[in-house]
Symmetry: C2
């Protein structure tokens, strides 16, 4: 019998501590046969995303915790290899939520066929997938940037941040990224077309922001948190909007406080936390726009690819530590 | 010549320090005569409000700082005693922004005639004035409470907080106040009709909130800040809304950080700072509703009255320290 491999959650990381290899376990199972109404998918790409750190814990999060000894959750892109479902045929390219495994069964309910003629399959896990829609929602629905405003985004070279800045530029804004390291900053400005990028590892973020955003900051898309959030809050203009998408700086450590809540009052700021999966009405228009932009070369992205399922844990640790450069994927095919 | 008294800002308090008597100076001047287009008003009531602390400083605030050696800013209610303005006649009852003085000249631009047949003149500085509209805007436009939700308000016995809770009750919400001291809490529940009130001086706010709001908190109207903000944030439900109106706990001291920004993300909270004077479109509908509620006895309020202009500084210090009980006024008449 043919076999496949999967990774299950073996144990939970300690709260405010990084996950470790022994939290995961690699298993080998027999490839299943689809029953009536089911599809068997061979996963070609696995998406690694910061939210997975939250699912690994037991603490209150916005989603139920990942069950122990079950396949780690995650977005996947692959190809239908057997189908007893009228909506799917062998050879269909599909994206779904089949988790950290090489093959998966689906009843079709969270599986979508995608068109890979103009958009590569892996992009449906990035710029034309959940990260892209996340950028779209936070920018369009919360920040609502106006022509001539200044928008800042942290983790600017990442799957979400790179889309935020490029969409902001298309709305006539000044787009400023924050990223870690010279290479990422150069990429954000030279390849993605941001107006400026601040290297938080090498620069004083407040001083650099004052130079890069001389008229202050109107919109901030936050992926990181920690001291970067405090630095940007201090530069916000009156009526600024902050879309709070992630706080990756604190996922493995103590929370970093917001030092001066009076910023919100004195400058009449709006801060809004959000989870893109709760705004399903935005997915169709966002995916349509993002797909067109990628297909026509107007939206660029970059991928960090780990090779093979057994590389997934280490790649995930790197993602949480900012060692990835662009959308973190695992190539399973 | 008849004279009147005024209080000017003599010097600015040190940042993050309480104001002192020597920041103010009492002066005696001759009562002026109105020129063409002007009205002379005898102020009967002076409103004391927390925002004045911000105006006394030089730091960045939402309004220009109060000028040194000029009459302290402030809302006033009084009677027209001489008029060369076609819109005002001797005997008219008016509210305006004539500041800390017994008489004031106005060109009519920020002066409104009010009807005192069913609503007392002083109420136009409280429940049917700026504090009332502040409550109305924060509750209706930011918190937008739904029937059955739980709304918490700090400084619940004060000019703003008392209106917030009563309006929330009228929207079918569970209203919970936070106030300092047993008398204020008893008043909030027994006289104003809140469902519960937490005495932050005597109770563990987190524990008391968990008891008073067993289903969690959906809307929070913040007047105080400091540790109370942290305590309430920890009890917010998913999609909770926080209207940030004031942070009086920090006006005279170091800012108190928001300890755990992940609350905003995990629970998808919205925090919005606001200044009621920037939402003039809300004033007519709000004042109409609040005036009707006061006139029909459905909206209750309480006043702390200091007697005479020279009592104003001490009353203002008391307001900043929470020693007032209800709307703080100075009776000038």
């Amino acid at each position: 019998m043919p076999t496949y491999r999967r990774i299950v959650l073996a144990s939970r990381p300690a709260p405010e501590q990084p996950p470790r290899h022994d939290n995961f376990r690699l298993e080998t199972l027999e490839v299943p046969t689809p029953s009536n109404g089911q599809v068997l998918v061979r996963n070609l790409w696995l998406s690694l995303d910061p939210y997975m750190r939250g699912r690994m814990g037991e603490g209150p999060s916005y989603a139920a915790p990942q069950a122990l000894n079950e396949t780690m959750v995650g977005g996947t892109a692959g190809e239908v290899v057997a189908s007893k479902h009228p909506g799917f045929a062998v050879g269909d390219q599909v994206v779904g939520q089949l988790g950290w495994q090489e093959y998966g069964l689906s009843d079709g309910s969270r599986l979508s066929k995608v068109d890979t003629r103009h958009v590569p399959l892996s992009a449906y896990l990035g710029a034309v997938g959940m990260p892209g829609v996340t950028a779209w929602h936070g920018l369009r629905r919360i920040i609502e940037p106006k022509d001539g405003e200044t928008v800042v985004v942290s983790a600017a070279s990442g799957a979400v941040g790179s889309v935020v800045g490029q969409l902001a530029k298309q709305s006539g804004c000044r787009a400023i990224g924050i990223a870690g390291g010279r290479d990422k900053c150069r990429y954000v400005v030279e390849d993605l077309g941001f107006d400026a990028c601040i290297d938080y590892k090498a620069q004083d973020v407040v001083k650099a922001l004052q130079e890069a955003a001389p008229k202050g900051v109107d919109g901030y898309f936050e992926n990181v948190g920690g001291e970067i959030l405090n630095a940007v809050l201090g530069q916000m203009n009156a009526f600024g909007r902050i879309a709070l998408c992630g706080l990756i700086a604190s996922y493995n450590s103590q929370p970093v406080p917001i030092r001066n809540p009076s910023w919100f009052l004195v400058r009449r700021l709006k801060l809004q936390g959000f989870i893109v999966s709760e705004h399903m009405e935005d997915w169709p228009p966002a995916l349509k726009e993002l797909g067109t932009l990628v297909a026509t070369g107007k939206l660029k992205y970059r991928e960090s690819v780990a090779d093979g399922l057994d590389a997934a844990p280490e790649a995930f640790f790197g993602l949480l530590a900012g060692r990835n450069f662009g959308k973190q994927l695992v190539k399973l095919g």
